[in-house]
Symmetry: C2
Subunit: 199 residues, 2 copies
């Protein structure tokens, strides 16, 4: 016996959120019950609508409840001749926060992972190939993560791009600006040497 069934159920269900353990779930439930019922009702409503209505952009596969996401729907960027390939919608947000990239995106929603049954089909690569074949694409920028799976995915997509005669590049990996060399991990450091540029 802990609390009443409904309170227990709320605490239990809050644990589906990433990073939320039993203690924080309890704290969240009590905080909403105590002082934030209106916010709780709004959250329940936004959650229900998002789970029901949010799908994938028909052009770039990011999350959207419309046919096209705001970027693909924009007159300027929707037909851009540069496509940046990322693993997740969060990566789009990170790049957009910089504000320097003005092309469009293609969101894989994952990376190649044969053991988990994630192949080219699950990543929507047929749709990407359609863009490469039909649209006027001058460059495909690969911004998958610098992991074994991200690397494999980048190479696989680079092959597709070459078959379509589209220039393909990969974003640089190396020592972050403001990062101190001695605290950077050895893999990143190795990449910073491989990717060195003539001065």
């Amino acid at each position: 016996m802990r609390f009443s069934p409904l309170v227990d159920e709320l605490i239990q269900n809050l644990r589906c959120l990433p990073g939320v353990g039993p203690k924080s779930a309890q704290r969240m439930a009590f905080s909403l019950l105590e002082s934030d019922r209106k916010a709780g009702i709004k959250l329940a409503d936004a959650l229900a609508r998002a789970m029901a209505d949010v799908g994938h952009c028909q052009s770039c596969r990011t999350f959207t409840e419309e046919a096209l996401c705001p970027i693909c729907a924009s007159a300027k960027r929707g037909k851009a001749d540069t496509i940046c390939v990322v693993e997740t919608p969060a990566d789009v947000l990170a790049i957009e926060a910089g504000g320097h990239f003005q092309g469009r995106y293609f969101v894989l929603q994952g990376h190649l992972s044969p053991l988990d049954g994630i192949g080219p089909e699950e990543l929507g690569l047929a749709l990407l190939e359609q863009h490469l074949g039909r649209d006027e694409i001058s460059e495909l920028i690969l911004a998958t993560n610098p992991t074994v799976e991200g690397d494999a995915t980048a190479h696989y997509i680079a092959d597709i791009a070459r078959r379509h005669g589209v220039n393909v590049s990969r974003i640089a990996h190396g020592v972050p600006v403001g990062g101190e060399l001695e605290y950077v991990d050895s893999t990143t450091l190795a990449l910073s040497f491989t990717g060195r540029q003539p001065l």
Copy 2:
């Protein structure tokens, strides 16, 4: 322009949860959208029902969607002659986790704080006085927090108990078992001296 309105709205609303900043709200929204829609729907449902239906136990004021919480409704504990007064429902859970207290609770849902407009009425002290006057209460144990407000609240309630001729005690504050003396804060250490017991 960030994401589509519905995704933005979900991220924004997740921030009403305590301890959830913009980054974690985003991570939560994406995690639910990506791989956990069923869990998201269940959470939305539990949340909506809890916000609408959970009220306060008519006897102890903890959260419940019933007239009485499970403890107050139980034949054994609901009529116990010992009442432990705590500030929040989370405190009830912490004490119940120990399993040593077999009496019933009274949950203030806060502490006296005149500047925030929280007086005896807001803490349900009239209801507590009803219990002291009508029920056979042998002891009132005060387990409010060892803070200025918690202390003031404890003293205020102790006066009420004495007026009703009910024994009143306060839980001990001191060095936690397993805690190392040198890492205990000075207030706790001072309390552990004040509350010392003859051997």
